[in-house]
């Protein structure tokens, strides 16, 4: 790779490589956890697949899975009891909004999630609020109503299963899935 990668991109690339190796169906790992990622350095040597070399079109469908593209980042994390999309995600959502506008046939399923505490159905409603917040942001950034569906998985599909604050933070999340991924 001749182009120098930003630190963030490296982390994303690394976490994606790790995740793809571990379990293909899981959503991308949280980018807030660089410490855990850096400790697993051997995976950095994982070979770059054919998809990721060659010409890079930032708004093509291929970019969705290209670790060099921000479109490969699909998770928005929320604070405890919060449904506000944090400012740090505005750029990422703008990129997805642009992609949706450029690919009108493409649809997106936004799956909201909640941490494990409390009632399953109430958590389903909390996850829904997170998914709706992401949907509203994308509607303002180029996505159309008929492209977007906000749903909730509540606390039923935790990315992390320990009863710790760090783990709960990973589960307060909305994941963006494109056509063919759900």
């Amino acid at each position: 790779m001749s182009t120098p990668l930003s630190a963030t991109t490296k982390v994303v690339l690394l976490s994606l490589t790790l995740l793809l190796a571990a379990c293909g169906s899981q959503p991308p790992a949280p980018e807030q956890n660089p410490a855990g990622v850096e400790s697993r350095t051997p995976a950095a040597a994982a070979p770059v697949t054919a998809d990721t070399v060659g010409k890079f079109d930032p708004l093509s469908a291929a970019a969705l899975k290209d670790p060099r593209s921000p479109l490969s980042r699909r998770s928005i994390y929320f604070d405890y009891d919060s449904f506000i999309v944090k400012d740090e995600y505005q750029t990422l959502l703008a990129t997805h909004g642009k992609f949706l506008a450029a690919n009108p046939a493409m649809k997106m399923l936004i799956q909201g999630n909640a941490d494990e505490r409390g009632s399953r159905e109430y958590n389903l409603a909390l996850g829904q609020k997170r998914a709706e917040a992401v949907k509203k942001a994308l509607l303002l950034l180029g996505g159309r109503e008929d492209q977007l569906e906000a749903v909730s998985l509540g606390k039923e599909k935790p990315a992390c299963t320990e009863s710790t604050e760090e783990c709960w933070g990973k589960n307060r999340r909305a994941d963006m899935l494109y056509s063919g991924e759900f």
Partner: protein, 428 residues
């Protein structure tokens, strides 16, 4: 017991033994009694007379049922007692028994059996009632539960729930099963198996169907599942999430939660999925609807006041919501009792989620458990016990507690998580 004798008896009655003694094809709920009532009635259930293996199997189910209720103290009688034999009242009195159940089981031809049972008052030396059942070998457990119901009702004056069924979800690695079992955990059967979560099962009032939420379509969709045929249909699959079904007392409609118009809001649909109408509008979350037994109100959880609290609303659209819970900042999952006089729900205190019971007339509430992750309470149809999900050592188990908080049971499945219990209605 000597294996040879068991084997011989099984040869004599193959069908019966395959159902009684064969290892269960799926992990069965085992029940542990962890608390009992204060004043338990001393009751002797004598071994029924008849073919020994069968009579013992029947009697042991009856004893386990009555013991589990926490309302009886079982007295040993020492020897079998036939249906038509006069109980040894003096001896029973000395043993401390207030009541005695005796019975006989006999072959009635065509592989059927006739079982007769008699319940007597020991101090008065008077017969309280008799009952007779004709059944097949495979119906032995069912018959035992009916005998337990007969004894329970005669002695307590309220309906027994031993013949009812429960539904619950078992989660093992990568697999979710919606299971139906007898109220004692026996005879478990899977109604649905899925790689995706299943939540919120609820019984139709006639016990023939379950409504539930399945995530097999990568989003929550409400299904209605006919248990006899195994056929099911989609009751709600609108854009967004579909969840939290609750049957109307007449079994014709479901109250549920849809997000097709934004946040989680309450709707009514016909059981076939038609005619969705909005029940209420709020700016926040409205969820977990449950009809009052008379159908007049819908209890639900809402965060319209800033924190999740329980409200109720007239079941006809357009009514005004009335807040029910005021203490604490997290009260969810309302479940009205079968007599409509109390409300079970989950309350959060110091980070612990616990089962609470409120007297709706006085608004006095009592926490019934000492656990920390209670969820999804479900009343027994006689209102005596509340079944709920909780966690012990990181594993999901079911537990039951009497509405006075005294009788406690734990129901668990080996090496799997059990959750989302729903107690079925009374049968016959």
């Amino acid at each position: 017991m000597k294996p040879s004798r068991l084997a011989l008896a099984c040869l004599a009655s193959l069908a019966l033994c395959s159902s009684l003694f064969a290892p269960a094809t799926r992990a069965q709920l085992s029940i542990e009694i962890t608390g009992a009532g204060a004043n338990r009635l001393p009751l002797a259930v004598a071994d029924f007379s008849g073919e020994r293996i069968i009579a013992q199997a029947l009697t042991s189910v009856v004893r386990a049922d009555l013991d589990r209720s926490g309302l009886f103290r079982l007295i040993d009688t020492g020897s079998p007692l036939a249906f038509d034999a006069t109980p040894p009242y003096a001896d029973l009195k000395q043993r401390g028994a207030d009541a005695v159940a005796s019975g006989s089981i006999a072959a009635a031809g065509d592989g059927r059996y006739q079982t007769q049972v008699r319940l007597a008052d020991v101090p008065k030396q008077a017969v309280l009632g008799t009952q007779a059942y004709v059944h097949t070998g495979t119906q032995l457990r069912t018959t035992a539960h009916r005998i337990s119901d007969f004894i329970y009702e005669k002695l307590t004056g309220e309906r027994g729930v031993f013949s009812t069924r429960i539904a619950y979800v078992v989660k093992s690695t990568g697999r979710y099963e919606l299971q139906i079992a007898d109220a004692d955990g026996g005879n478990p059967q899977a109604a649905l198996a899925s790689r995706e979560p299943i939540i919120s099962p609820v019984w139709s009032p006639d016990g023939s169907k379950l409504a539930y939420v399945s995530f097999e379509a990568k989003k929550p969709v409400v299904y209605v599942h006919d248990l006899a045929s195994g056929r099911r249909h989609v009751a709600a699959n609108f854009k967004g999430s579909n969840s939290a079904p609750a049957w109307s007392p007449d079994g014709k409609r479901l109250a549920l939660v849809l997000t097709k118009d934004g946040n989680s809001q309450l709707y009514l649909v016909n059981v076939d999925g038609s005619g969705a109408t909005r029940l209420a509008s709020s700016a926040g979350i409205d969820t977990e609807p449950r009809f009052s037994p008379d159908g007049a109100y819908i209890y639900f959880t809402s965060d319209r006041g800033g924190s999740p609290q329980i409200y109720r609303l007239p079941a006809t659209a357009g009514g005004t919501a009335e807040r029910i819970t005021f203490e604490g900042n997290y009260n969810v999952t309302p479940r009205p009792s079968p007599d409509g006089k109390s409300l079970a729900y989950i309350t959060r205190t110091n980070g612990r989620f616990q089962l609470a019971l409120m007297d709706l007339a006085t608004k006095q509430a009592q926490i019934l458990t000492d656990s920390a992750k209670d969820e999804s309470p479900s009343f027994a149809p006689n209102g005596r016990m509340i079944l709920y999900a909780t966690e012990i050592n990181g594993r999901g188990v079911l537990a039951a507690v009497s509405s006075d908080g005294r009788v406690k049971q734990k129901l668990s499945v080996q090496a799997a998580d059990v959750r989302e219990p729903a107690w079925g209605p009374l049968v016959n």
